[in-house]
Assembly symmetry: C2
Homo-oligomer: 188 residues x 2
DNA sequence: CAAAATTTGTCAATAGATTGACCGTCAATA
DNA sequence: TATTGACGGTCAATCTATTGACAAATTTTG
């Protein structure tokens, strides 16, 4: 039914209006690597699939938190770590957060301002602080994580238990092979 | 060698200084779900693994582009789509980008300013534009994507071909089961 | 013990992305 | 045809995260 919108069949891999972010992967992998010498289509498919899927899943998880008026995902991660350890030095919290030092430090500041985390200078090392989860922070974490995990289940339950284990194992292999590689680029 | 830094064995799941972003997953999955009723540890492990791995991989890929003084990853994605289609309406480019309309529109503006994309009003629909990859844009794309894909291969080559296919299949199953779910939260 | 190197937190500058609102344009329908 | 609703792009406001540089504290090394 679209007349003058039909794409040029020579250049376009497929009708663009029927293409989605997800179906784009297959088309891109078929059409791009043959045109550029040395490009590996399998690696491209793997990374593009991973990126696209992650984008869908974690946007959805974040939106779920927002809709529930809960803390945002980066905050949830800091609270989770602190919930595990109870009390720790901010250097470790920042390191484990996966964010850059500057970003984690700024976020921590904000959460301290919201009185969900208490912070005092460390006596052992005057460069760092000791941080503790406040009662308010503990409550906010449990509330948010309950909502968050319910949605995690929504995603996970499309796979069987065996498939989940397989997926986790494969991702684990991918990461572990590179983790102690000095070549890996990491956040500052 | 750490003396007074030994964590409290009752609250801490493990010595915090030996913990990494990656090993944190196992500890978190073991220690948090038992404390919060209704929390599903398998779903948590799956999502946390996915998130952590993706964060490592795509930070590394972006840093690879930066180090090579190539275009950034979001720009690369727009150029990739345009490279596939040659010429298309910006509405489709924006939709396929996976970003919000506002973000994609602003980014497109910037790339047009850099003369890597040409944009003219569409005659068919005066709300949208027709965008084309310029010669400069094509060159920038091929250069950047060559660097990017070489690094994708670095990640992908830790898996056998069968494992890669399996991983792609599992992620595909995860996403496809939810894609046409009206319940899915999407960007505006 | 002194000097050099590293660690930790923070600042400034920047870049990028989000939501929600708005306006002009197009499509559906009454 | 006129009205209603949907769509496409952009604006403003906000928020988050990044790098690179710096200072203070600590650790390592000579």
């Amino acid at each position: 039914m679209p007349s003058d919108r039909a794409p040029n069949a020579e250049t376009a891999p497929d009708a663009v209006e029927d293409t989605t972010m997800w179906s784009l992967i297959g088309q891109a992998v078929e059409s791009v690597p043959p045109q550029i010498p040395g490009v590996d289509d399998e690696a491209m498919r793997l990374c593009m699939t991973l990126h696209c899927a992650t984008s869908l899943v974690f946007y959805d998880l974040s939106a779920t938190l927002r809709r529930a008026d809960a803390v945002a995902a980066p905050t949830l991660k800091l609270l989770l770590i602190l919930y595990m350890y109870g009390e720790m030095e901010s250097r470790d919290l920042i390191r484990l957060s996966g964010m850059s030092r500057a970003a984690a430090s700024a976020l921590l500041d904000k959460i301290v301002g919201q009185e969900m985390i208490e912070r005092r200078l460390s006596e052992r090392d005057r460069r760092t602080h000791v941080v503790t989860l406040s009662e308010k922070g503990r409550t906010a974490f449990v509330e948010a994580f309950t909502v968050y995990n319910a949605r995690e289940r929504y995603w996970a339950e499309t796979l069987t238990r065996a498939e989940r284990d397989q997926l986790i194992g494969l991702i684990g292999k991918l990461v572990n092979a590179r983790l102690d590689d000095g070549n890996l680029r990491r956040r500052q």
